[in-house]
């Protein structure tokens, strides 16, 4: 047994209202630079829908993740090591920028500099890649709220797997939101695809990171990741990915996306797992067995043997405590309501989801029946095959039973809690119908419905004796020690690295002032107000003082 700790996340999809706050705050924190315009470490997709980038889930096309070959051995779906190197000069499976979208800005100066005229001046969209006028045809959430889905949603690879034809007519449709970040997999295929070995998994907390100094821009990780959560920064020529906000996690703070989530639907905590069993679990022959196989890799943090082995492996006592209090462990293993996203990719993802009951509840409600009645809900879960099968395609490789079981637990919780809220006697038969005790059901309700900040985020900080040199605290040196700006001689951002926090500040300022369309020329007179935080006035925003007559 080789015990390792993994920082993990669970999202409760019933609570997601699709407001995109997580995406926006994440973008402001991490990808607010040129070259990263199209990069969304966190994005929110409307399902059914094409996702971002378009149809990324179609692995027959993109060849991401792992597969089991005829001899039962796990291999990269994109091909082995030799094939990987042989295609290094031109990656045949790299999505083009069109599969994401061509980032753009508007030519605001035609508005601000417009003379008095009869017609309202128009700011035309300009491509941030070529600098030319462009027609906006797609973006990160173009099909938000099923917008235009009568045209596009039939290309959703997960819908294609369901035999019955789904109709996108208003009365018959269903939808929910799927926020996605990097899965920080136990068996990351991006890391396995990286020729330089620049992508690594941190031993302490399992966060998967790209070493920006070792990345050589071979682009293999982009095609290797089945979730397409590694992006290529087209300015610096380096891969970038969700960092699980490691500077915040190190000091015990939740990620930016979790912290700012208005629905409070994200949970963060530790999972202990047996690293020796990962490969075997990922090699499980039957796709349907992968969900259970991954659960078997997790270790019970209350088991004395596990605790002893964990301490031997150098996991500190307070981390083991945190693993015991982990909301993730409770949702995945105790209540079994969280499911992995696409276990069939065999990367052992570590951001799990509680599937939404709302498509079912909505339908029952529309019929005028009582949507919190156990009988009605259970019957509806059995009857509404399409939403349930669709969820199964996302979370259990198409196996309906586990999704069914989770939805029934959520339905039972609604019914059981309604009796309590209405002041009636709780009905013990409701939890019993889904194999839970009344106490378990109430605890699950607390965790899912009213958990406080410290119950949702159980994040043991890195040890205090090292804290002075952590990124976020960074008491080591004052900002002024870092030279101003970048040296652009060898391309954007080359030169000595600056700490993340300072870099953001620096880059924010650069961007406010130098947001020319494609190249760094013509810095004067263009201000990106989107990035202006309201403090101070970036140069170029107002005409120079004294120049007015």
């Amino acid at each position: 047994m080789k015990v390792m700790a993994q920082m993990a996340m669970v999202m409760n999809l019933d609570k997601c209202i699709g407001c995109h706050t997580c995406s926006v705050t994440c973008k402001q924190a991490w990808t607010n630079r040129s070259g990263t315009e199209y990069i969304w470490f966190n994005n929110v997709e409307t399902r059914p829908g094409l996702g971002y980038p378009r149809t990324y889930e179609d692995q027959e096309k993109w060849k991401g993740g792992w597969e089991v070959n005829k001899r039962g051995r796990l291999k990269l779906k994109g091909g082995g090591r030799l094939k990987n190197l042989a295609t290094i000069f031109s990656n045949p499976k790299l999505p083009s920028i069109g599969e994401y979208y061509e980032p753009w800005t508007y030519d605001y100066s035609t508005l601000t500099d417009a003379p008095a005229q009869e017609h309202t001046p128009v700011a035309r969209p300009k491509s941030l890649i070529s600098g030319k006028n462009m027609k906006i045809e797609w973006s990160a959430n173009w099909d938000d709220d099923l917008g235009g889905s009568t045209e596009t949603a039939h290309r959703d690879p997960m819908l294609a797997k369901i035999a019955e034809k789904v109709k996108f007519e208003f009365e018959q449709t269903f939808m929910f939101y799927l926020p996605r970040i990097c899965e920080h997999c136990l068996n990351p295929s991006c890391a396995a695809s990286c020729p330089s070995g620049a992508i690594y998994k941190r031993e302490e907390d399992g966060i998967v990171l790209v070493d920006q100094d070792k990345c050589r821009g071979w682009r293999k990780c982009v095609s290797g990741c089945p979730y397409k959560k590694i992006y290529f920064n087209h300015r610096t020529g380096k891969a970038e990915k969700c960092t699980f906000c490691f500077p915040r996690i190190e000091v015990g703070l939740p990620t930016v996306c979790a912290e700012t989530c208005v629905g409070r639907l994200r949970y963060i905590g530790l999972m202990l797992y047996d690293a020796d069993k990962v490969l075997e679990a990922a090699s499980t022959e039957d796709d349907h067995g992968l969900y259970e196989a991954q659960r078997d890799v997790f270790l019970d943090p209350f088991d004395p043997d596990v605790m002893r082995e964990a301490e031997k492996a150098g996991i500190a006592r307070d981390w083991i405590d945190a693993a015991q209090r982990s909301p993730i462990y409770a949702l995945i293993n105790t209540y079994k309501v969280a499911l992995p996203l696409h276990p069939e990719y065999r990367t052992m993802p570590m951001v799990w989801y509680i599937p939404p009951l709302s498509p079912v509840v909505d339908v029952v409600q529309e019929t005028g029946e009582d949507a919190e009645d156990k009988g009605n809900l259970f019957a509806a879960i059995d009857a509404l095959r399409i939403p349930v099968e669709y969820l199964a395609e996302l979370f259990t490789a198409g196996e309906v039973e586990p999704v069914d079981a989770v939805l029934k637990k959520l339905a039972a919780m609604r019914c059981y809690m309604r009796d309590i809220n209405m002041g009636r006697d709780p009905d013990a038969s409701i939890p019993a119908a889904v194999g839970m005790t009344e106490e378990e059901m109430y605890d699950m309700y607390r965790l899912l419905a009213i958990a406080k900040y410290e119950d949702r985020y159980v994040i043991p900080p890195t040890h205090a004796e090292q804290a002075h040199s952590l990124e976020e605290l960074s008491t080591e040196c004052s900002v002024s020690e870092y030279g101003g700006g970048q040296q652009d001689l060898f391309g954007e951002g080359s030169g000595v690295p600056t700490p993340i926090a300072v870099e953001n500040f620096q880059m924010l300022q650069d961007r406010q002032t130098s947001d020319s369309l494609a190249g760094p020329e013509n810095k004067e007179g263009r201000v990106n107000l989107l990035n202006w935080d309201g403090k101070g006035s970036p140069p170029g925003m107002f005409p120079p003082k004294g120049s007015d007559s």
Binding site: I97, E203, G217, H234, F490
Partner: protein
């Protein structure tokens, strides 16, 4: 003059090449990348880039063989001058044509595809100029010198190659180079110019050829480096603060 062109200048370039790489690796690991433009354009790159790169691998292999292995060695294992010549010219032509065609496609792409062109730095343009001239001269030497024998027979293995080895052994003999045809002289000079530019261009990615990928384990685990958590090392206790 010959001493300067074929002794001093090459050594200056070689020194720049070596020291430049050390400096760049030390101070600009972040800028050390292929700076791929595949995201912008794929249709032309898909043909041009593998043609150029694989052709280039052949060209480099041919140069290693032709420059570093003395004629006496191939004679000793019984390869006749004629057999060597046929193999070298045949292989060289094949690799050379792939390189030239690939390069032509890539240069055309870089100039005509808007996003690719606007992502091209000044350094890229200078490097391209040297690279194109070096490759064209090399092709000229192969076609005009070895096949059409325009300027008479020239066995570079008794001239240029010997000079190159003497140069590497720090006992340079400029006269060997001075007797070589003009095409060979220019090719060598431009190539050394390219070597001098090398560490300051995106060509540094050649030295990142990821051969280690074939042997390393798939998943890389790394401990957080506690001595360098941020981008700077922690100060030692006795360093002055502020």
């Amino acid at each position: 003059m010959n001493d300067f062109l074929f002794v001093v200048f090459p050594y200056i370039c070689l020194t720049t090449f070596v020291v430049g790489h050390l400096w760049r690796y030390r101070y600009d690991k972040f800028g050390w990348t292929t700076r791929s433009s595949q995201l912008y354009e794929n249709r032309l790159l898909r043909i041009g880039s593998p043609l150029f790169h694989f052709g280039m691998l052949g060209v480099v292999g041919g140069h290693v063989f032709g420059l570093l292995i003395p004629q006496s060695w191939t004679d000793a294992v019984g390869i006749s001058e004629h057999a060597y010549h046929v193999a070298a010219v045949g292989g060289g032509l094949l690799a050379g044509i792939a390189t030239v065609v690939g390069l032509a496609i890539l240069v055309y792409r870089r100039r005509t595809v808007g996003p690719v062109f606007s992502a091209t730095t000044v350094m890229d343009k200078v490097m391209y100029a040297f690279l194109i001239v070096a490759i064209v001269l090399g092709m000229w030497n192969t076609v005009a010198g070895s096949i059409l024998t325009l300027g008479g027979e020239y066995n570079y293995r008794e001239g240029v190659s010997v000079w190159f080895r003497s140069f590497l052994a720090f006992q340079p003999d400029a006269s060997l180079m001075a007797d070589a045809p003009l095409g060979f002289q220019l090719h060598a000079l431009v190539a050394f110019g390219l070597f001098a530019l090398w560490p300051f261009t995106r060509l540094v990615h050649v030295f990142s050829a990821p051969l280690g990928y074939l042997t390393r384990p798939y998943i890389v685990y790394r401990k957080r480096d506690d001595t360098q958590l941020g981008s700077h090392r922690p100060r030692r206790g006795w360093d002055r603060v502020g």
